[in-house]
């Protein structure tokens, strides 16, 4: 069945069950991926997957939901029946409706349709990439984590009031994670990830070069003294920390009491006036963009922090109604509709007079710690408390020299971090999770072995 036929099928089955109000979200995916081990194919994978999530409203306007992988006529009927049963337990305290924007026009990025290149080509490309990475430096002994994949999917949203949205796209990903070993030293590892709309669009050479350079740059390492340091966050690491604490901008988290913000936080000063943060799912560089969310609301650019102050929260239909505003296109369909950011864009605002512009990661000669990548986010972030303690990969810059840090954590408080930003570099970099410049922060605690 295609998406139109599924909509018709749901509509018929709902009529049969006397369910007047329903909506659904569906995704249909075909994935192909390969992994290699020293020139040999290790695992080759293909998958075909379909997921259908149906919501129904009962006569008391309570919502029930069911998810199924069975999109046959009988599977759809079963899912509707189960959703109807679940609606007896619908949330009486907070109602859910269709998004008022579910029929608004959507902006779909014009992207040339890619066709699958096939497993054989994926394998050939990855084999060559592995060889090149192994040959790039004598200390790189293996590429234990690697993969090349391509994915083709369609997403659909429709409801009983006639809204229907469908969107197809493709995405490919390459990751290379190298391991370097030298005599009498600990093994060191680092890597790179690149995305593209298709396997042919991925910049393989830059992925190899980046994985090699990053791994080699950690070969000469040393422990770091436990102390407070001036920190330079790479664009990737700063985006990681902003995403980890995105509950500060999340209306669902605010309602649930797990955010540092509250309903009255719009306008609250969070950081230096020089900081702007947007959520921009439709950004031209965002390969993972989707033009509508789980409730069918169009995706859009939204300012979260303007000149250091909270400007907007991200919303679903129900949180927007509670906050007396409009949905922002950040909903995920579920029994309890989730809210999450799409793609964070960090910029320097026009109020940037007080920044210490001499702090530039490529020229600054004083002592600082450069945080390249933060790890173990799920373990080290307490979003509801604002604290973090995270292991990282990075370097200590001291006396004009750069040395990799053996094993250390950076700890602090997100509000302290944002308020102690001392420079936002001018040049932004595109990462897989957003865009940001390098960000400098004073006085964060680093724990090392020394």
């Amino acid at each position: 069945m295609n998406s139109r036929e599924i909509t018709t099928q749901i509509s018929k089955a709902a009529d049969f069950l006397n369910l007047k109000k329903w909506d659904y979200g569906a995704s249909f995916t075909n994935d192909y991926s390969v992994q290699v081990d020293k020139g040999e194919a290790k695992q080759l994978k293909a998958s075909q997957k379909q997921i259908l999530t149906i919501r129904v409203w009962n006569q008391s306007n309570l919502v029930g939901i069911t998810t199924t992988s069975d999109i046959s006529e009988s599977g759809i009927k079963k899912a509707l029946k189960q959703a109807n049963i679940a609606s007896d337990f619908g949330n009486k305290n907070e109602s859910t409706e269709f998004s008022p924007l579910a029929k608004d026009p959507i902006k779909v990025k014009e992207v040339k349709k890619r066709n699958p290149v096939g497993i054989k080509k994926l394998l050939t490309v990855l084999r060559e990439a592995e060889v090149k990475l192994l040959e790039s430096h004598e200390s790189i002994k293996s590429v234990p984590y690697n993969g090349l994949s391509e994915s083709f999917f369609e997403r659909v949203y429709a409801n009983s009031e006639g809204a229907f949205r469908s969107y197809s796209k493709s995405q490919a990903a390459l990751y290379l994670y190298a391991r370097a070993e030298e005599k009498n030293k600990k093994p060191r590892s680092s890597g790179s990830v690149k995305l593209g709309y298709g396997a042919d669009d991925i910049d393989i050479e830059s992925c190899i070069k980046e994985a090699s350079n990053k791994t080699i740059s950690h070969l000469n390492y040393s422990s770091i003294k436990t102390d407070k340091y001036l920190i330079c966050f790479s664009p990737e690491s700063f985006l990681t920390i902003i995403n980890a604490f995105s509950s500060m901008f999340n209306a669902r988290s605010i309602i649930d009491g797990v955010s540092l913000s509250n309903k009255n936080s719009i306008g609250e000063k969070l950081s230096t006036e020089a900081l702007n943060i947007y959520d921009d799912g439709l950004h031209e560089k965002n390969i993972s963009s989707t033009p509508f969310d789980g409730e069918g609301t169009p995706t859009k650019r939204l300012c979260l922090i303007n000149r250091g102050r909270i400007e907007n929260f991200i919303h679903s239909e129900s949180t927007a109604r509670i906050f007396k505003t409009t949905p922002t296109g950040h909903a995920g369909l579920g029994s309890k509709v989730s809210v999450s950011p799409d793609w964070i864009v960090v910029e320097k605002s026009d109020q940037n007079f007080n920044l210490k512009t001499s702090l530039d990661h490529s020229t600054y000669e004083g002592e600082f710690v450069y945080i390249e990548e933060l790890n173990a986010i799920h373990a080290g972030v307490r979003a509801s408390q604002g604290s973090f303690s995270l292991p990282f990969d990075g370097w200590l810059y001291k006396n004009g020299k750069k040395i990799s840090i053996e094993s250390a954590t950076v700890a602090g408080d997100i509000k302290y971090l944002l308020k102690n930003i001392v420079n936002i570099e001018s040049s932004q970099e595109v990462t897989t999770s957003g865009i940001s410049p390098h960000i400098w922060v004073e006085e964060l605690s680093i724990t090392g072995d020394a």
């Binding site: 695992q43 080759l44 994978k45 293909a46 997957k49 992988s69 189960q82 337990f89 600990k186 602090g412």
Partner: protein
């Protein structure tokens, strides 16, 4: 039902599918595969969330699909699909064969499937024995109400999840198995707040194969535990960073062994060349006080199985005996690629993942000391009563958040501290586990790795680590 009585062109759960499965395996072998495995799954899940005094989410879901794995030499191709018709399964076999570029005519033998081993016979009634959504909702609401012990508790949550998974596993070595797995888990969480102070507390409980377990769960005891933890930590200072001796509590304290050492004993890590223990079999890798076990047989434990996802009954594997490395955790691909015999540890989240060597119930065995012996032996250190999550990096470094910690001074527990992280490497920390308590207890958890998220149990008695890096402020 006898196989001759049914001739279906689609997998039918609860029926004999032998003819169809044999036909598909014959097809794969005929095309030149060395080995063909079919894993078919039908799941019925439900989850319920209670927030404050309301049920805010009830989510049923159903999933059906098949994962087909073909080996040629040491290479494997894996295809997953929702299409359980004969045509769909054969198409998946063809796709896997094509991916592996199998063109030679050397054919392996397939002598048909063995006698059906049906582990599901006594379990078919489970679906009718598990608590209804109504019953779950009522108990969750009572539980969240129990968390409301003072006005400092600002957020209360209770969550329940039930996964009933019916599987059929058939492969060209004759394996033909059916099973039903039931996992239930329930968790309580609170956030406490007073002026600028904030803390949180959480506990999770879980069982396998015990439909009545949620009814027997002592929600009052759990609520008291979570509440006390959040109150103890509400005004806690941040811990000072540094090297120090630590005592790790029993139950979920075992997560550190699971993450830091257990993963390095999976054959997938040997295959990748990422474990420092690869060539250390029968060598000392830990303090002589450490004996560590991984098994899938403890009745009712969250990581227990009647049969693994490759059709093998799980064994009790003594991984480390008195500090000496004795065994690796292995699956079919691990045995093929590393030579370590299978241990009944081939596991996967669902049909869309190929099975891999994964832990089940993993714990450090009990020693002879009391908890007090361990604490009394430390003049200045940290007691980690409750551990949060953790991770292990590609070169073996681990880090773990301490959810509830107390300073130890002169052999006594003193003030609570927050923000602690334990950092180290298994190779360096294992020899420093110098004392094991006599109070082994297990705790359920979810482990995410190469074959998805699987149910596991971690565990240990109280243990003392002579020196470890504690991250703080």
């Amino acid at each position: 039902m006898l196989s001759s009585q049914i001739k279906s062109n689609e997998i039918v759960f609860g029926s004999c599918n032998k003819d169809l499965l044999e036909e598909i395996i014959f097809y794969g072998i005929g095309l030149g595969a060395d080995f063909v495995e079919i894993f078919i799954e039908n799941t019925d899940n439900s989850s319920v969330l209670a927030e404050e005094d309301f049920i805010t989410s009830v989510s049923p879901s159903f999933r059906r699909g098949a994962g087909i794995r073909i080996f040629k030499g040491k290479k494997d191709g894996f295809v997953s699909t929702n299409d359980l018709t004969k045509h769909g399964l054969m198409r998946s076999v063809s796709q896997a064969i094509e991916m592996l570029d199998i063109t030679d005519n050397q054919k392996e033998l397939f002598n048909g499937l063995n006698k059906h081993r049906d582990y599901s016979l006594s379990k078919k009634k489970w679906i009718n024995e598990v608590p209804s959504i109504h019953e779950i909702s009522e108990k969750l609401l009572v539980s969240t109400k129990s968390l409301k012990k003072n006005n400092k508790i600002i957020t209360r949550k209770g969550s329940y999840s039930r996964n009933l998974q019916e599987v059929i596993i058939a492969s060209s070595d004759g394996t033909y198995v059916s099973d039903i797995r039931l996992h239930q888990t329930v968790g309580l969480n609170v956030i406490a707040s007073d002026a600028q102070y904030r803390s949180s507390g959480s506990r999770r409980f879980g069982s396998s194969g015990m439909p009545n377990e949620f009814r027997l769960w002592d929600h009052e005891k759990a609520a008291n535990d979570v509440f006390e933890s959040s109150m103890n930590m509400l005004y806690a200072d941040y811990v000072d960073a540094g090297q120090m001796p630590v005592v790790l509590a029993n139950k979920f304290g075992g997560v550190i062994f699971h993450e830091a050492c257990g993963h390095l004993l999976e054959t997938t890590q040997i295959e990748r060349g990422t474990t420092p223990f690869e060539n250390k079999l029968n060598e000392k890798i830990a303090h002589e006080s450490v004996t560590a076990i991984d098994e899938g047989i403890s009745e009712g434990s969250f990581g227990s199985l009647s049969v693994d996802d490759e059709g093998m009954e799980p064994e009790k594997s003594v991984l480390i005996k008195d500090g000496i490395l004795k065994k690796f955790i292995s699956d079919r691909a691990g045995e093929l690629r590393t030579g370590h015999k299978r241990t009944g540890s081939g596991r996967r989240q669902n049909y869309s993942f190929a099975a891999a060597s994964r832990m089940r119930n993993t714990y450090i065995a009990k020693g002879k000391h009391s908890k007090e012996d361990l604490i009394n032996s430390i003049s200045e250190g940290l007691y980690c009563k409750s551990m949060g999550g953790g991770s292990v990096g590609a070169t073996g470094q681990f880090n773990f958040a301490v959810e509830e910690g107390y300073l130890i001074k002169n052999g006594k527990l003193t003030s609570p501290v927050k923000g602690a992280t334990l950092i180290g490497e298994a190779k360096e920390v294992m020899p420093k586990i110098s004392m094991c308590g006599n109070d082994l207890e297990l705790a359920p958890g979810f482990c995410g790795s190469i074959s998805g998220s699987v149910n596991v149990t971690v565990g240990q008695p109280h243990i003392k680590v002579d020196s470890i890096t504690v991250g703080g402020r």
